[in-house]
Symmetry: C2
């Protein structure tokens, strides 16, 4: 089959690799019909060192089940399924808590031997991981359903962990696909004021469509000052940080209201950060977030897409065949595309 | 009047200073009847540089109102009041949120011109700050009531911000007076399992009386392993960090369960700390806490003391006159006393 392999920063290739095979009775194999490139795929695209064996890429997929292991009971060959970016058994203590990304039998497709930017995908813990969508679902829903494998539900996770709700003022840092998803999710959860910090007009325009009431293009101290001005000097009850770099973290604690919450879903590209009296502690700010527990939200989100309540698929502004995926990486890296849908 | 003044680390003196005077119409002056030394007073006791003008010490007090400014309406001369470690107007947006330590007219007695280890105390924002206790309250309740100015309600704040409740496993790091208070507060809030990390037997014995179901004397990696063993390898839903030093912070993220909460009330003696994928982010751990919003809890806590529901005053194991306060610092620093009550 064809799969996407990255060999070093900037070097993305589509090449023939062996087809995946069922290894455990809980595995399934799907033929990928829809995949995409994630903002987080750009991190290795920037800094992957020489990797002679290559690194398989991709962690978002919809596909058709073509083979199931002997223990798989909830999926049948022919089912179209959404596969979250992490697999999980959905039965362990942490899955029962809803923290499916900490599943004791779980793992991440990022860096796994089988990843989603490929014709075929091995899905471990298939019963716990993949969720079937109704047979005959119209193709027009597929982009939005694909966002449920990561990007929309990552924005939703940020909002849920941050306690977004009616009457709340929410600041979203980052106008990438996750930030825009966080805007849409905040609107769904009833936020009163949604301030989007970003400076790419095409993106912030979509952010306004998704529910942003204010857009702040300024960054750093100027950006903080602007958000404080909008909030009457009080700051934001919730800050959703969808970038993962230190300047975004600093903006977050600059704009959070005393007693407020910073919820991070941008994978931190740092290990240490300010948490002392002057940043978080002094104003009783809460820092939360982590890898989105997509699987825990998936069943509730599918009908929201199918009944038209949400249309997160609007984050896709380009579509390319798998064989052109290197161009998809280039477009997203150059910010010529927000998010590229890939058809294997 | 006599007041406690620190001139450098280890140099604590009681000396004559001018009596406080009403400066603003919202001020009141109280004659301090009960004060004490706080674990956090030991930080300057260890590291205060030469301070020629001296630093007034103390932030916990009960006293009798002897003078009120013209705008003070809820307190009368003769009222016995509890004074929290921070003053607040109790009317601003942040006070209405319950984040009284971020009051726009607020401040901390620590480092203020008038502090509590003295015969008289100037109380700014007296209506918002001080809370009267019933006339004729028996002296035997005073130690427990005094803990409501800081230490018990700081433990309670940790537990509240951490989401302690029925069925939860709570680990308390630190067997000082705040840590023991956090144990007692966790029991009040219905925690099922309370693991106290500390190694001073006299203190951990009091911790068991307060509700600790397990005591872990080990520290660092050994301590983390022990807590994981007690929790069946899953970790603690809530970790209450009552120390403020980096090793305690590291223990906290070592023992927190995926999706769990670390609530800090030990004033951090560091500004940066691990918050990346390997510490907090990867397991969706939440970091919260800050200066305790004592004022927001005070009215509800007073009846709990007076009806015998809680007896947090048991943290006082010594009592000295104000003139001997240097000995109180020495006893606490040498861990010969847990907490010393001072009578001016």
């Amino acid at each position: 089959m064809l799969a996407t392999v990255m060999y070093r920063s900037g070097d993305v290739r589509v090449q023939e690799v062996p087809d995946p095979v069922i290894g455990a009775p809980t595995d399934a194999i799907i033929r990928v019909t829809h995949a995409c490139v994630c903002g987080s795929d750009l991190h290795p695209y920037h800094d992957l060192p020489d990797t002679p064996g290559g690194r398989r890429m991709g962690h978002e997929a919809i596909g058709v089940t073509i083979e199931t292991g002997s223990d798989v009971s909830t999926l049948s060959v022919g089912d179209t399924v959404i596969v979250p970016f992490a697999w999980s058994d959905n039965t362990c203590a942490f899955c029962r808590d809803g923290i499916t990304t900490s599943c004791v039998h779980g793992g991440f497709f990022d860096g796994a031997p089988s990843a989603t930017q490929a014709e075929l995908l091995l899905v471990p813990q298939a019963d716990g991981t993949a969720v079937a969508i109704p047979a005959g679902t119209d193709e027009r829903f597929m982009p939005s359903l694909l966002t449920l494998s990561d990007v929309y539900l990552t924005g939703h996770h940020a909002a849920v962990r941050g306690g977004v709700g009616p009457g709340k003022t929410v600041t979203v840092i980052g106008d990438g696909a996750v930030g825009l998803s966080a805007v849409l999710a905040s609107r769904q959860l009833g936020a009163q004021t949604i301030i989007l910090m970003g400076r790419h007009t095409a993106r912030t325009d979509l952010g306004r469509d998704f529910g942003a009431t204010h857009v702040v293009a300024e960054r750093g101290e100027e950006g903080v000052a602007k958000v404080l001005e909008i909030t009457g000097g009080e700051g934001s009850h919730v800050v959703l940080e969808a970038v993962g770099h230190m300047p975004a973290y600093k903006q977050a604690y600059g704009v959070v209201r005393p007693g407020g919450v910073i919820s991070r879903v941008g994978v931190p590209q740092y290990s240490d950060a300010p948490v002392g009296f002057a940043s978080l502690f002094g104003k009783n700010a809460t820092l939360t977030g982590g890898p989105a527990t997509v699987r825990a939200y998936l069943e509730a989100a599918i009908p929201q897409v199918l009944d038209g309540t949400i249309d997160p698929g609007r984050v896709f502004d380009r579509e390319l065949p798998l064989t052109d995926i290197a161009e998809a990486y280039r477009l997203m890296d150059a910010r010529e595309a927000l998010k590229v849908l890939i058809r294997p």
